[in-house]
């Protein structure tokens, strides 16, 4: 029960039910958010962390309703700022496991800066971004991940904003853990949530999530059952990049450009394929993989990057210890009496 490096209070093992609240779940029927909630609630008991040590923090958006449905501590904050609140919580009490639930608008539009800075500080936060490429809650405006040219409520003639790639941004922000999964693959999703939970440091998981009301089917071109194997690729550490129904397609590097090859054709062997490495200190490879998009490439899911380095709160606590060691625990008496003093009789 403490496989993930977290302490347990030795209490009875919790179940999925323990993590459900009495609040009615209010997403539209059919929304991909349900699947993500289900997987998080499934994974939680496996982590062996008592409920009271877990905090879910969100911004605003359909996705950000999430904390109300988790029977842990929760904070539904304001639009785009969840990483800031979460940083405060984690820094105040590093014992807590702190999750951030956000959407593509929340994390990348109004909240892009906090997202980036929380990641770069390597605060130990577990950030899940529900990417539905649309603003759900406000009823259908485009988001920073919406495709160029997409028509929607606020762009009736089509969006003229080039979309942003959330993974590229995460790498730019030096995130120590970066993964991707999707609502329609619960098993994979559960594994990714577990990996995220186990990571110590700023972790970011992008989840492709279908908004069946305002953006139905944006991902289905590549993630529907029939085409998925040919149009997506699962990253596995130390394994070559192979995909396809027949497991005979692969990714090879040509200079710094990935290209699709068929194993067995034109003399290509498995040894020619790129081998995935989550752990490289420099995120050059994960960056390149993160930019592979349908239809040019199969869409990668899995863990792109997972490295360890001291977290922000560790270093902060470390400085406090050092200060106490070198200067002694703070004395109020000394503090207020410091500097030049004089006595008037």
């Amino acid at each position: 029960m403490s496989e993930n490096g977290h302490t347990t209070n030795g209490a009875v093992k919790l179940t999925r039910k323990d993590f459900q609240t009495d609040q009615e779940v209010r997403w539209c029927p059919g929304c991909g958010d349900y699947s993500i909630l289900a997987q998080v609630q499934k994974v939680m008991p496996e982590l062996g962390i008592p409920k009271e040590k877990i905090v879910f923090i969100s911004g605003i958006g359909c996705s950000s309703r999430f904390p109300y449905y988790m029977n842990t501590y929760g904070f539904h904050t304001i639009h785009g700022r969840a990483p800031a609140f979460a940083t405060g919580v984690k820094v105040a009490n590093p014992d807590l496991q702190v999750w951030v639930i956000t959407g593509d608008g929340d994390a990348l539009s109004i909240g892009g800066n906090h997202f980036m800075h929380a990641l770069r500080r390597n605060v130990d936060l577990k950030i899940i971004l529900f990417n539905n490429r649309i603003y759900g809650l406000t009823k259908g405006q485009y988001s920073p991940t919406s495709e160029l040219g997409k028509r929607n409520k606020s762009a009736p003639m089509g969006t003229i904003d080039y979309p942003i790639n959330p993974l590229s941004l995460a790498f730019a922000a030096e995130a120590t853990f970066v993964g991707r999964s999707m609502d329609v693959d619960p098993k994979h999703l559960a594994t990714m949530i577990e990996r995220l939970a186990a990571h110590k440091g700023s972790g970011f998981l992008e989840v492709y999530q279908n908004c069946n009301i305002f953006n139905d089917g944006t991902f289905k071109n590549f993630n529907e059952r029939e085409v998925k194997e040919d149009r997506m690729i699962q990253l596995e550490h130390g394994k070559p990049l192979i995909f396809g129904k027949n497991k005979n397609k692969g990714i090879r590097l040509n200079g710094v450009t990935p290209e699709i090859v068929t194993v067995g054709e034109n003399g290509v062997t498995v040894d020619d394929l790129l081998v995935h490495n989550e752990n490289a200190r420099e995120p050059n490879l994960p960056y390149i993989l993160g930019r592979m998009q349908f239809p040019e490439y199969p869409v990668p899911v899995g863990v792109f990057r997972a490295i360890e380095r001291p977290t922000y709160e560790q270093m902060l606590v470390g400085q406090i210890s050092t200060a106490v060691e070198t200067k002694g625990a703070g004395s109020l008496e000394k503090l207020i009496n410091s500097g030049e003093t004089w006595v008037i009789n």
Binding site: E52, G74, H76, R81, G88, V89, N93, G330
Partner: protein
């Protein structure tokens, strides 16, 4: 040049007794005027004068040496009686270059002493200061007692045996000037000698050079019979106690550390640098051994967000900034109101609107603190009256915020933050108790249940078994805290949040009146105008006028006796460094024809201006 010894000179020249002197050191930002002023202040305090100071930094960019915008000044008032302001007009001006003269001469009292460093009055510098003729020669200074001294050369001369490079030797000229003034006002050099030793101990040659410059200045004044007399300002009748000199920003930082220690909870400070609040961040970041956690955020929104998060997790959540930063924090303050978490927002006010006058003082954020958020979003507001008072009001802010589970504004300003005063170090026993009761009992817990007296909801922090709950910015159901859209519940909760802040009155001391409890005029103030108002009213009372004053340290809610106090006076005058913000609140609440006396110049009131205004109503 006669060869008299030091002792002889001292006895030879007459010593005049003065009640109070205001002196201003002015020079280029690189000239060390803040150090000079600071030393004069410290020494005066040690020998028992009452003092009050006003540093005046150049505006935000370091201007080129010798230019007008590069001028830095430090004014101090030292006295043998109680004083509350750095003085309206300096009696002495030390101007280290033409630009310093240009910027400051208009403030010097007629006939005042003017000390000029003639070495710097060369063509280049005169041009930079915008002089077409050299004021030293053109007669324009004839209304003052001018002392023309080649301070730079004299300093270099004194240090000719020093091995330091030229630039560094030259830099000692501020100590030379300080020495001159020490002699003129009969101050001992020991405190400064000790300070130099502490500060430059590691670099003995620097220490020695400064000591030599100081002494050279002192001796020069003495030996040359430069001034026709020198002056003595006696000890003030100061409340017995142990004192230190403290700036408002220091007192603020120390005050919040103290509050956190009294509360037994670590202090979390989320901030983004901004003038004139940054020094609080600098100061707090030095005290990690108190468990203080400082977080320099990416912006003001993240700074307050993290502070609220920390408060949710059981720390004393504190965030600090100046006016433009408060504007950015507005949305998040609303969340703290809705989630009813303790949070203190420091606003070290500065000149505005917009970027405004970033290094100057103003009191124009009161209404922003009151109303600067969407919808009905009440918060507590306290405001220190003097630099030292920042300590006390910091403790008060934490006490109210934690007891009532609500955000509280701490409205300081640039004048308080950078200004300093002798501060009587309180005994720790005199500080209020601050019991923090985290909820731990599971039985009967609801996140929005209420304490009957304070209406506070329980503070139940993550990590507490069995109290898992969710909060957020959507309207809450009374007691359960669940998301709720019912019309009547909303109306109830809006009024409840207002009432909760109002109930802080229970914990606020009554407003005290200085002077008689009734009369012709009451001067009602708040914040950093305390000194000027008190001095003006003291003067008027001494002249027998029926004038009193009262100073609000709690601005929302007001002390419960405020209405009573006001109605005992024929006229209420409210001087403010804004266009009448407190005045508006008073008029609306009490329907009295309070008179606003406004000044928005980026600097404190002059006592004389207040006196003149008061006279109009007698």
């Amino acid at each position: 040049m006669s060869a008299t010894t030091l002792e002889e000179t001292v006895t030879k020249l007459p010593i005049e007794e003065l009640e109070a002197v205001t002196i201003r050191f002015a020079g280029d930002s690189g000239d060390g005027m803040q150090v000079t002023g600071g030393q004069f202040t410290a020494t005066s305090a040690v020998i028992g004068n009452d003092i009050s100071t006003l540093p005046d930094f150049p505006a935000e960019i370091r201007a080129p040496a010798g230019s007008l915008p590069g001028v830095s000044g430090y004014q101090l008032n030292f006295s043998s009686r109680d004083i509350h302001t750095p003085g309206d007009e300096p009696n002495v001006l030390v101007a280290m270059n033409p630009a310093a003269l240009k910027v400051n001469i208009k403030d010097l009292e007629p006939g005042g002493i003017l000390v000029l460093n003639t070495d710097e009055f060369n063509d280049g510098n005169l041009k930079k200061a915008g002089y077409t003729a050299n004021p030293i020669d053109d007669g324009s200074l004839s209304g003052y007692r001018v002392f023309k001294l080649p301070i730079t050369s004299l300093t270099l001369k004194a240090l000719e045996n020093s091995s330091m490079p030229f630039k560094q030797r030259e830099r000692c000229k501020n100590f030379y000037a300080l020495g001159l003034m020490y002699w003129l006002y009969d101050r001992p050099m020991e405190p400064t000698l000790k300070w130099i030793d502490d500060k430059f101990g590691a670099k003995p040659e620097v220490a020695e050079a400064n000591v030599m410059a100081l002494k050279a200045g002192y001796n020069y004044a003495d030996t040359m019979e430069l001034f026709t007399s020198h002056y003595h300002v006696g000890k003030a009748q100061i409340k017995p106690g142990k004192y230190r000199n403290i700036t408002g920003n220091e007192a603020t930082a120390i005050g919040f550390i103290t509050a956190s220690q009294l509360a037994g909870r670590p202090l979390f400070y989320g901030s983004y640098p901004i003038t004139p609040a940054s020094d609080i961040l600098h100061e707090l970041s030095k005290h990690k051994n108190f468990g203080v956690k400082t977080f320099q955020a990416e912006d003001e929104i993240a700074a307050i967000g993290a502070a609220i998060g920390a408060s949710f997790a059981g720390h004393i959540g504190l965030t600090g900034t100046s006016g433009p930063g408060v504007a950015l924090k507005s949305e998040a303050i609303g969340l703290a109101v809705m989630t009813e978490l303790p949070l203190i927002i420091i606003d070290v006010q500065r000149g505005g609107p917009s970027t405004g006058l970033p290094t100057k003082t103003e009191q124009a954020d009161l209404l922003q603190a009151m109303f600067g958020r969407n919808s009905e979003s009440p918060v507590g507001i306290v405001a220190p009256a003097t630099p030292g008072d920042c300590f006390k009001m910091a403790v008060e802010a934490v006490r109210l915020a934690t007891k009532y589970m609500a955000p509280v504004f701490f409205l300081s300003d640039g004048y308080l933050g950078n200004g300093s005063e002798p501060w009587e170090i309180p005994s720790l026993d005199s500080l209020p108790e601050m019991k923090i009761n985290f909820r731990t009992e599971v039985e009967g817990f609801f996140p929005y249940m209420r304490d009957e007296k304070t209406l506070a909801r329980p503070w139940a922090i993550p990590g507490t078994p069995g109290l898992e709950h969710r909060i957020g910015g959507i309207e809450k159901k009374h007691i359960t805290g669940n998301v709720n859209y019912e019309p009547d519940n909303h109306d109830f909760m809006v009024r409840l949040r207002a009432e909760k802040i109002q109930r802080m009155q229970q914990d606020i001391p009554p407003l005290e009146v200085f002077g008689a409890p009734e009369g012709k005029v009451l001067v009602l103030g708040w914040g950093s105008t305390y000194g000027a108002i008190t001095t003006a009213v003291e003067q008027m009372r001494e002249r027998g006028h029926a004038v009193s004053s009262a100073h609000l340290r709690y601005l929302n809610p007001f002390p419960s006796n405020l209405g009573d106090v006001l109605k005992r006076f024929e006229t209420v005058i409210i001087p403010e460094l804004n266009l009448g913000q407190l005045c508006m609140l008073i008029r609306a609440q009490f329907l009295i024809d309070a008179v606003s006396f406004s000044q928005v110049k980026g600097k404190p009131f002059k006592v004389s201006a207040l006196v003149n205004k008061i006279k109009e109503y007698l």
